[in-house]
């Protein structure tokens, strides 16, 4: 006799009786106003925006955004913190932006994620419930130079450890897209 799995328990009638799924408060400070704004009006303006969409380029990175990625500017080191798993990660790519989007989409779908796209921003929503609700990941592509892009993945909702695992799975599928990972970028010479 096999032990019942957690997903099976969640489906069981016995479990469902009187069960109220927990609501997970998002305590993190990720500012997703810009991503949310993009997805909020996508329904209303979908028809009008379609033509504009094809013409737009990914946002060019502002020098200050780049500089703020510097490890030296992060005061968290003052706290000798066991950083644990980060809520966001980034990598650079030499592939064209559209190709990056298609590759991420192709990699995320088999992992059980629904993909919502608008311009160079994406929302990846897990169809499976995780430890802290469904994992929800926001992606954005920035242009650093005509042939160089920075891809940022941020956890919007859900368990950070699951985000970390998701990213690990995703990056094995994205090997031919990734130029430099964050680990590569943070090595001090």
């Amino acid at each position: 006799m096999q032990r019942i799995t957690i997903p099976e328990i969640l489906q069981d009638e016995w479990f469902k009786k009187g069960y109220k799924p927990p609501v997970f408060e998002e305590k993190d400070d990720t500012n997703l106003d810009d991503v949310e704004a993009v997805f909020k009006d996508s329904e209303e303006h979908h028809v009008m925006e379609k033509r504009k969409e094809e013409e737009q380029q990914p946002t060019t990175m502002n020098a200050f955004e780049l500089i703020s990625m510097s490890k030296g500017l992060n005061l968290e080191n003052l706290f000798d913190a066991e950083q644990g798993f980060k809520r966001e990660t980034r990598f650079t790519s030499k592939c064209p932006a559209n190709e990056i989007i298609h590759k991420i989409e192709a990699a995320a779908k088999p992992l059980g994620f629904d993909v919502h796209k608008k311009n160079y921003k994406m929302r990846l929503e897990s169809s499976k419930a995780g430890r802290k609700g469904n994992l929800n990941v926001a992606t954005e592509i920035f242009q650093m130079a005509p042939s160089l892009h920075m891809v940022e993945l941020r956890k919007a909702k859900g368990d950070t450890l699951e985000f970390h695992k998701f990213y690990k799975n995703l990056s094995t599928c994205l090997e031919d897209v990734v130029w430099k990972t964050e680990e590569d970028m943070k090595e001090v010479k």
Binding site: K27, T60, A63, F64, I67, S70, A81, V188
Partner: protein, 243 residues
């Protein structure tokens, strides 16, 4: 009394500091534990000097980087710390850039310009990084940080040097034309009066349009500080205050 009065320095009262900042009394006490460890690392005088601050900021606690730590330590101990302005112009050296940043941040923490950071300075400066601190304070702090030589303007060459240092740190090689293009785009966006530099008003305007630029000014970790630095009950003033 606990340990809020060291042999050499009187520290500001945690209740007073809590009332001035977004921190609770427990959080201020937790910060005091951190302050104690940083301020005693070189000279045990209850104050953080430049060297202690740099060590705290750049020492990587992971064992694998022990050689990197030694290099930083050597650099700090053996060579006098030049001013931020001078280091900026030695630009390409990543360590120099980090030290310059460290000094820039130190100067901002040292609000009374005494050359040392006391506990009150420490708490008030970290308060700006608290998630609940005002956007205005964060914007202001960030501006002063980027204006490394303190002229009241963020100049194009300052931004360029910081950008080059960041790119070297990340091992990304971008040609000068691309760096100039990024700078052009940034200044086109930010430099409204087109005088080649960014003043505080232009910075405020830029940040209002791009709130993500203030990401570095918030440490969500500060909300969990009491779990990271528990201070023992007999040190605590919390029970003395009516709930």
């Amino acid at each position: 009394m606990g340990c809020f009065h060291s042999k050499v320095t009187r520290h500001e009262d945690p209740i007073e500091l809590a009332s001035q900042t977004a921190f609770t009394v427990s959080e201020v006490e937790a910060l005091f534990e951190l302050f104690k460890s940083i301020s005693s690392s070189v000279i045990d005088d209850g104050l953080i000097n430049k060297e202690e601050f740099q060590l705290a900021l750049f020492m990587n606690k992971k064992k694998e980087n022990i050689f990197a730590n030694r290099a930083v330590l050597f650099r700090i101990k053996v060579q006098p710390l030049p001013t931020a302005f001078n280091i900026v112009f030695y630009g390409h050296h990543i360590l120099a850039f980090k030290l310059a940043l460290g000094i820039a941040i130190f100067d901002l923490f040292d609000a009374k310009k005494k050359g040392v950071i006391d506990f009150g300075d420490f708490v008030r400066a970290l308060n700006i990084f608290h998630p609940n601190a005002s956007q205005e304070d964060k914007t202001d702090f960030a501006f002063k940080l980027y204006d490394m030589d303190g002229t009241g303007f963020i100049e194009r060459n300052e931004v360029k040097l910081m950008l080059i240092a960041l790119l070297r740190e990340s091992e990304m090689k971008l040609g000068d034309e691309i760096i100039e293009a990024i700078l052009d785009k940034t200044f086109l966006d930010a430099d409204i009066n087109q005088d080649g530099r960014i003043d505080i008003l232009e910075w405020q305007n830029l940040v209002a349009r791009n709130p993500s630029l203030l990401k570095i000014m918030t440490l969500p970790y500060l909300r969990d500080i009491t779990t990271a630095f528990p201070s023992f009950v007999f040190n605590s003033k919390v029970d003395e205050v009516a709930a």
